[in-house]
């Protein structure tokens, strides 16, 4: 037998230098230099909680459709000239304008962003085109099992909270008017509370100066909008959503989770990894590598401003839907009842620490991390603290976190699939209710 080589000494987590400044208009600018390739990445985050769902969706598709005397096509061409591109997207917490360009194009990229922020015109022809396109994309999404399962799960776990519905209907989208978009823009697109991150082949001071030149004319203020905390999960019968003739079932289990700043976060992150959060986990080794029920099962902690959640997801063959649920509950229950082995914890810990390094190794990765953490009031130095906490978590702490958060008794389960074929085997394991008829 050949011996597996030992690992070299662990490299300490090295955080890049970040320069941060708040401009007089209230915009916070953060800049990080990573000169590896001659590009810059920009991310602008605007708080967007409680904004009208359909209008926000159309706004993200039409912000770049005309501004300051330029048409949408001219904006696109001007961006291309500096190797640039911009796009915008939204979730229930924020609107994010993301872009990149060749390094020499940074000033121009920021100027165009400024024009859009201060002068987006939402021309009626373009708005009509884009809302039609968006409605069609939503129609396509509604034929995708992963989307349907997510929609049903959000509704089940969030009830009346704004997170419960995150995709508008095609009908809602096509009725959005240019006037409504201009109004939403005026109300919500302002620099106070906004965060701009610039990462790339440029010194932080130069990047911040460029941002100040381009964006100081962007002014205005609006009200702060906060969301209520998400409701506690309410366990109940498994929700069955019918999708006749489906050749696979979409299995989802929601579990409670805590924010990044909670003392249980590090042990829960490790408990989730050991359960199903990476390939070398108990659940993946069981239902994929041993039983062949599924291809890409995953278990993920997601953080939103109003609360965190843990979602277990697998697409499994219709004929093994019941057995797959059984193994899932077994692995959750096993970890919630018995602490993991030391070697399982060490393996998960190394993975958690190593992937922190990988995530920070590109311009786009750094930009994404910086803007995401900033959205939760955190800075990248959080990662060093978090790495320190991960390094210290014990087997007992993981066991305690699993007992608290991964217990099957706290789970909300949902399956989307061919109800006629899968209901009998699911009913053998747990009470089942058809979607739409839950008593919650």
């Amino acid at each position: 037998m050949r011996q597996l080589p030992a690992l070299g000494p662990n490299r300490p987590l090295k955080l890049p230098k970040i320069v941060e400044e708040t401009l007089p208009n209230g915009l916070t600018v953060m800049a990080i230099r990573r000169p590896a390739v001659p590009l810059v990445e920009v991310r602008l985050r605007l708080p967007f909680a409680r904004a009208h769902l359909a209008r926000t969706a159309v706004l993200t598709q039409t912000m770049l459709s005309g501004a300051d005397g330029l048409t949408g096509v001219e904006i696109a061409a001007e961006l291309q000239k500096v190797g640039g591109g911009l796009n915008s997207g939204a979730d229930p917490d924020r609107l994010l304008l993301s872009g990149n360009s060749l390094t020499a194009g940074l000033e121009r990229l920021l100027e165009i962003m400024s024009s859009v922020l201060t002068g987006a015109s939402y021309p009626s022809g373009e708005v009509a085109t884009e809302r039609g396109r968006l409605a069609d994309r939503i129609r396509v999404a509604l034929s995708q099992p992963s989307h349907l399962a997510r929609e049903a799960l959000l509704k089940r776990i969030y009830g009346r909270h704004p997170y419960a519905v995150q995709t508008p209907t095609p009908e809602q989208v096509v009725s959005v008017t240019p006037g409504a978009l201009r109004k939403l823009h005026a109300e919500r697109i302002h620099p106070a509370g906004a965060i701009l991150v610039i990462v790339g082949d440029v010194t932080p001071n130069k990047a911040i100066a460029a941002a100040e030149r381009a964006l100081s004319a962007w002014t205005g203020d609006g009200k702060d909008v906060e969301l209520p905390a998400v409701p506690e999960l309410e366990p109940g019968p498994l929700t069955l959503v019918d999708r006749p003739d489906a050749v696979q079932s979409s299995l989802r289990v929601a579990l409670p989770a805590v924010p990044r700043t909670h003392p249980d976060h590090a042990p829960l992150q490790l408990a989730n990894l050991i359960f199903g959060g990476y390939f070398s986990s108990r659940w993946v080794e069981n239902i994929r590598e041993d039983k062949g029920y599924t291809y890409g099962p995953h278990s993920l902690i997601e953080h939103a401003v109003a609360g965190s959640s843990l979602t277990v997801a697998a697409e499994v063959a219709t004929e093994v839907t019941g057995p797959a649920l059984l193994e899932t509950m077994y692995e959750l229950g096993r970890l919630a009842s018995l602490p993991p082995r030391e070697d399982e914890l060490e393996q998960a810990r190394q993975y958690a620490l190593g992937t922190l390094q990988l995530g920070m190794s590109t311009q786009a990765g750094l930009a994404g991390l910086a803007v995401t953490y900033a959205g939760f009031g955190l800075r990248l130095d959080y990662l060093a603290d978090h790495a320190g906490r991960l390094a210290k978590v014990s087997v007992d702490e993981v066991g305690a976190a699993a007992a608290r958060y991964l217990a099957p008794a706290r789970a909300v389960s949902l399956v989307l699939g061919d109800a006629e074929r899968i209901e009998p085997s699911l009913s053998a394991l747990t009470p089942v209710t058809r979607a739409g008829s839950e008593v919650v």
Binding site: L142, V247, Q248, E289, Y293, T294, V316, Y351, L353
Partner: protein, 439 residues
């Protein structure tokens, strides 16, 4: 805000590249870059979907799965556990002309990754239990990506059989369930023996390491992998289409119509200069709101809701061999007319061929392409994989530093000639007829 005219200078990267060949025939590419404490390790074998035997559709991909099921010194599951337990991530993927296996890790795990790759290059553990298990996993993969979703396999599995006549180019690379289920351990052993030879592989290492030290580690771990020669790669060429081919099929889950069209292009390897104009043309036609087809069809006519263009059925312009194609694909609004969409594409290509490009149109497209290329190589794994394939197919990993400049040197005259070649007579297309409501 006003428009500006001067063209931006296209920058380049200067990643150093060291090449060596071990006595057993293994080619090695080392590209140090100490900007982040991470390394990428990739082994690329010169075998892909086009090389699988008749009656064994999907075998190259199934075999890729088997390469993760244990090897000489490693039990099943050990590979995954050692990579992830070192803080790394892994995967593999099967392409038309190659199959890759790769890890991204903190740089203190470099030697471990080399050990793991060398071990399976010596030989995977092929057992019937693992084979049956992975056939089940692959069937679920096909259900997720093709059978249980709208537009599954469109167009990468649906267009080749329209455009090509021979089995290697035309068949379904994911494979039929019948073929997958009839695969045997003997098939796998033979496939390994023939194609997974040291002489048929490239090892690529990128990132945070010292070249002398990495060279020593590579020699230590791969030096005693038995020498086996690369098999002769068959010529997969087929004649260009002499007349238009159109096909359609009903997708029971798709709510809206879609169409994809393809035209043969020059050999990407032997005629890079003739090929590059098509790579640029695809972007002139479809990159962003200021591109020809988006402006015309999405924004003006509203005849499509999206249109995209790219080279190669798997969208990798610099990781595919001849024969390959330029593809355009579009999604249509409810009741959209695919015939009209194809006519408009013809009209726009002819308009470029006859009237030429607008001032600045080519330069801005080239600048944006440079950004895309540079962005891909910032990630250590992107760099590592691309260099591996450039070495394997061209013996030129350093091309990674030159592509933005080569793209920028494509002339308007070349774009016009490429556009003129996209005629209806040379086109193969496939239409998706929506068979689904919102179910």
């Amino acid at each position: 805000m006003s428009v500006r005219s001067s063209a931006i200078r296209i920058p380049a990267t200067k990643y150093p590249v060291e090449r060596l060949t071990l006595p057993n025939g293994l080619r090695v590419v080392l590209a140090p870059d100490r900007s982040a404490p991470v390394v990428g390790v990739a082994v690329v074998y010169d075998v892909g979907i086009r090389s699988e035997p008749e009656g064994r559709t999907g075998f190259a991909h199934l075999f890729e799965h088997l390469m993760f099921q244990g090897s000489e010194n490693l039990e099943k599951l050990a590979h995954f556990r050692y990579v992830q337990g070192s803080g790394g991530t892994f995967n593999g993927s099967t392409h038309l002309d190659y199959t890759d296996y790769f890890e991204t890790l903190p740089s203190n795990a470099l030697e471990r990754a080399l050990f793991l790759e060398a071990d399976r290059m010596r030989g995977p553990r092929l057992t019937s239990e693992n084979l049956r298990n992975q056939v089940d996993v692959v069937k679920e993969e096909i259900r997720v990506n093709v059978l249980n979703r709208p537009y599954g396999g469109f167009p990468w599995l649906k267009l080749p059989p329209v455009m090509f006549d021979t089995f290697p180019n035309a068949h379904d690379g994911y494979g039929s369930f019948t073929d997958l289920e009839s695969a045997t351990v003997e098939d796998a052993a033979e496939f390994f023996q023939r194609y997974y030879a040291a002489g048929n592989a490239v090892l690529s290492v990128s990132g945070d390491f010292d070249v002398a030290e990495a060279t020593r580690l590579v020699e230590e771990h791969f030096g005693d992998v038995p020498a086996r020669k690369a098999p002769t790669r068959p010529d997969f060429d087929e004649p260009d289409l002499a007349e238009e081919r159109r096909h359609s099929y009903t997708d029971r889950l798709a709510p809206l119509p879609a169409v994809a069209a393809a035209w043969r292009v020059p050999d990407p390897i032997d005629d890079l200069a003739g090929y590059l104009p098509y790579v640029v043309l695809a972007e002139v036609l479809t990159d962003g709101d200021a591109s020809r087809l988006v402006e015309r069809m999405v924004l003006r006519d509203r005849s499509v809701t999206s249109v995209g263009g790219y080279l190669g059925f798997m969208g990798e312009p610099f990781a595919v061999r001849d024969p390959t194609a330029l593809l355009l694909q579009a999604h249509l609004p409810p009741g959209g007319d695919v015939g009209k969409v194809l006519d408009t594409i013809d009209e726009e290509c002819q308009r470029i061929a006859t009237d030429g490009l607008a001032p600045g149109e080519l330069a801005r497209t080239q600048a944006r392409m440079a950004t895309h290329l540079l962005r891909d190589v910032d990630a250590v794994l992107g760099r590592c994989l691309q260099m591996a394939v450039l070495e394997q197919q061209r013996g030129a990993p350093e091309l990674i530093n030159e592509l933005p400049r080569l793209i920028a040197e494509v002339t308007e005259e070349q774009i016009l000639a490429a556009a003129a070649a996209l005629t209806a007579q040379r086109r193969a297309s496939v239409e998706v007829i929506p068979g689904g409501g919102n179910k």
